[in-house]
Symmetry: D3
């Protein structure tokens, strides 16, 4: 089972080899690609919009290269609905998958993310996926997505603080790390919450989504063509990749 992890940005790939190795378990192999056309980072609806055309080209290429499933490596789930119209293999969004997992494990969830201005994107997802009644709120740590790699300790401190506030003050029974750049922090945040008396799941969105492809692939399941009808290709203007 080969899973293609599409990073919907044009900057170079930033998964460490150790992180990648951690994903290649239980019969899975993963490859990571990024975009020729698109934004350098995703922090708003506008950034998402700039990512999608390039993702279509990339996804079609990945299918030709034999990918069995696609995971979109950004908590905004850019292009999720679109790619499902364009390819037949399962396409998984990390926000949708994480929220569905929280819906199984807990009554409510809260999200910690990077910037206040990224919160509307996450609320759009909460509403679109039908989790409004479970969602207690989203708190930001006020760090930009391209900054966090260099300040891991500061990031963890702020994440733990905001997570605790969501749990203690807003009734979150589980926490989702709302940016794929937070990869690898879930264990630390979970330990700190437990230390404050809250024994709850903390979801690291990208890896949990990669492993969530296994039940789909094993059972031959993919998105419904009634909900995501096959897109009929048509002429576009101004896109180098599609000319």
């Amino acid at each position: 089972m080969r899973i293609s992890i599409i990073q919907p940005i044009t900057s170079p790939i930033d998964l460490s080899s150790e992180e990648l190795e951690g994903l290649c378990k239980n019969g899975i192999t993963c490859s990571v690609v990024n975009l020729n056309t698109g934004p350098c980072s995703i922090e708003s609806r506008t950034d998402k919009a700039f990512a999608v055309p390039g993702m279509i080209a990339t996804a079609q290429q990945e299918v030709q290269n034999g990918a069995d499933a696609i995971v979109i490596d950004c908590f905004g789930d850019p292009g999720l609905d679109v790619l499902r119209e364009v390819v037949d293999i399962p396409v998984l969004g990390v926000a949708q998958t994480s929220m569905n997992i929280c819906a199984s494990l807990a009554d409510t969830f809260g999200v910690v993310t990077i910037l206040k201005e990224s919160i509307p994107v996450i609320i759009d997802s909460v509403n679109a996926y039908g989790h409004k009644d479970r969602f207690v709120g989203c708190h930001a740590i006020d760090m930009r997505s391209l900054e966090i790699k260099g300040q891991v300790n500061e990031m963890a401190n702020r994440l733990a603080e905001q997570a605790l506030s969501l749990v203690r003050d807003k009734g979150a029974h589980s926490i989702i790390l709302g940016c794929t750049g937070f990869i690898g922090c879930a264990g630390e945040i979970r330990k700190r919450l437990e230390h404050s008396g809250f024994d709850i799941p903390v979801v690291d969105p990208m890896p949990v989504t990669v492993f969530s492809a296994i039940p789909l692939l094993r059972m031959g399941l993919t998105q419904s063509k009634e909900s995501y009808p096959r897109h009929r290709p048509k002429k576009t203007k101004g896109y180098k990749e599609f000319e």
Copy 2:
């Protein structure tokens, strides 16, 4: 008050001078623009995605040219949330405006549109705008958006038939014409429904949205920056219009 009507496609403008004149009433003047970068028509989520980057460039240009409000001339409301992050003048979507007007005038509404494969786009809007409880369904007339101009009678017959089915069988108390290409047909459909015993509103989405800009402009209202935070410009790759 100058309203910029953005057609989110690259094909030449198709409003007749008579149609345009009908919009320039009650103190409004309108101009119509279309895209340099984008699809030739919009019938799916994928088409919508190809339209948005070009719409951003166009909207910014229209603001510089002195537009007071933007109306997006496509029932899929492509780029509605994105443009609201990018410009400060009010941006109106024709689906959102039509659904809100039906919510004022009737308990329920149904939508008639072009293709079965376009229905998921409309259901996305119904859900995003919070109208799930009022929406009774969407029926398609099975004509592509670029075909309808040449077959006005056939189109009206099919629209009336599907509208009547929504009213009679599904309990629609109002009807929305779910494609801006149906402009000018609402009166005829309304007359036929009345003839069948149903005296209900039929909403022509684009013109009603143009006039709905008046209360906003007159009162100095525009989208909330808390819901639509100002997008911070950043580098993109592969978009000619943004290089």
Copy 3:
């Protein structure tokens, strides 16, 4: 387009000529009438009930006098559903219209009103119009409706304070002035919120509703007879105006 503004109280009309002039724009002329039968002010469900019979007589008279649309000049929307059964021209409620406009411009809204005891009336409207999920709360400034004209500064101070509390503590992304007696204050409240860092719409309900009649009248739209069936006149006892 002549719009009849019905004040659902028996006290003399209190719009200044300047306020009235501000409404007569974009092709609209307005006239203001009040009631022969009814209460002296509206602050509770009971007050609303005393207003409706007199409103029916007044609305029928206004239709005979050639009105093109009716706007009910009270944030309780008294008689809105009833008048829609009684006349064929569009009847607009200022609360319903304001809430629908906020639904277009922002994710959430809060309301500031006169008295704590008036809040249930507003919550009834929020629920009836389907805005429960967007409504963050209603705060009162503790001034009676007939007092506010004489204390404009105090009123503005209290409105700004309560609006800020709704935005900062409850997450309101837009504010509705929940009493038509607050006419003309929206700009001032908006400025103060912006000063506190919140760039959001503040809706003045009556004027925005008057201008919202334009899209309906221009497009020939009125309430659905399926949702508001024509009332069959019948004998009543004890109402002087109907004998």
Copy 4:
């Protein structure tokens, strides 16, 4: 425990002495009053509006006469919220009580009523009382409220037919008789449904509401003053009963 049954119409009282006797059980005595000011029958929102002012006067009189609770004898629940602001004893609506009882006994309910034009009044109640998810629909038997007493067999046949349609075609798990004029028919309708294979409750709204006052009176419960603040009396004009 004396329960005052207010008939919100001006026509003479139409409960048979046998019907009244059936209500005076389990420690209850009942009295029936009707209005000096109001409509001759209630079939629309407009009729409801004409009833409420007269109901206020009548309710206040009944409290002075020592009533322990008020039951409003009309399925439109006219004046329910208003009387709760005006008197301190419990005020019960027959539609609200019946719907709450169905919510205890069954997953879903349907309503059979008199006229198609009365259905919006019932849907208003379903929504206001929070039963939208349980309500499968309302069917009318096309008889006016003042006609039904003379055509009991025809009425029962039509009620049974419409009730069966709601159960078989729309999934109703219980039935509410949606007009207090149908008093005494529930047993017959229930028998016929059972004969068709559906063993479900059929609710006769007025008597069940009278008996539902017992738990409230026995426990000293009445409407919350937070939800129904005490109305402050004020001057009204044009109402003979209040001058």
Copy 5:
């Protein structure tokens, strides 16, 4: 009318003769039974599960002994749905009945209960009965169910404090005592809330449920067999009472 009050625990019966007498009013006689198979107290979902098999045996016995209705004497409503499949007489849950009564008397309600770990059971009920929109929260007084009889004053103090917090801070317009062990305290809590300025209903769940059987029995109503199909008896293993 004989009502069987089933205490879903194996410990001896703890209603005082005075409490029992207060229930035998308005034509009702009550008897109280407890279980041979089951837990010693109910504070979690697990406790509830241990109670249900024994409740089935007890309920069948009570029907044979001529009971007219069953009331389950525990705020967790254990076995409510199950007993409705097993017997034909009405089965009433005290949580469901209390919540429905609050839905009639107030816009919102809060619950005070024994332990923090019992709250999920109550939230399960709120959701299952469709009261999510009215429920403002549940506060615990941190006393175990078998402790409270010996510390009535302390219990009342803590209940009043938590009730006031739900009303003042969370907007509860009515309060439910969320443990049947709190029997007899409602009047005291209500008096204290009124003293703090809140004139609202406080519901004592078990007695109000007993009296709520009267309207059902008087009208011949019981649970719908469409919602609660008759259980077909089958072989079980390991249950002494069913061998």
Copy 6:
């Protein structure tokens, strides 16, 4: 990773060795256990209640035997919430998991099950898991759970027929096989639906749930102790397994 599949019935295990082998993939090993105390089959809420006490004993035993996760092998999800209070390893319900997977892959789902009388159990789950808006209905094939193994062809025919009806007439965009006895049929049903023009997922609940344990185990995730507080053991009477 060892997954314990608990069959909540007392009859001998009925998974074929081939079926079991199909589950032992991607690093998983599975073992199947059934109950000492419980019913012979599960078709109603009452059957579910008889299963839970025995499941508690079995689950505790399985944890001691080193199980890493528990899957409950019955579409009624009996004991799901209870086991989550009793053990710390992840407990997965097949209905909850299947519905969450459909929520990822399609807008709506329908369920096909064994008996009409089993439908309320499934609707309970739909509501409890928050999928009411996606659920289009449940159809029964009228075969008892212990009959189906012997009539595989008849079963498949009836399943395909009912699935098609849910898709064509009720708008299901995905199908869940609503009984774990249907194991292995999903491919066949899917093929038949595709043949009728509907290219949609058909979910086989038990195997997909087994594989869905992988992302949880790999990421160290289990149910939240805030939603499922640890049950404090206490004395029960009448349960042989707990004495």
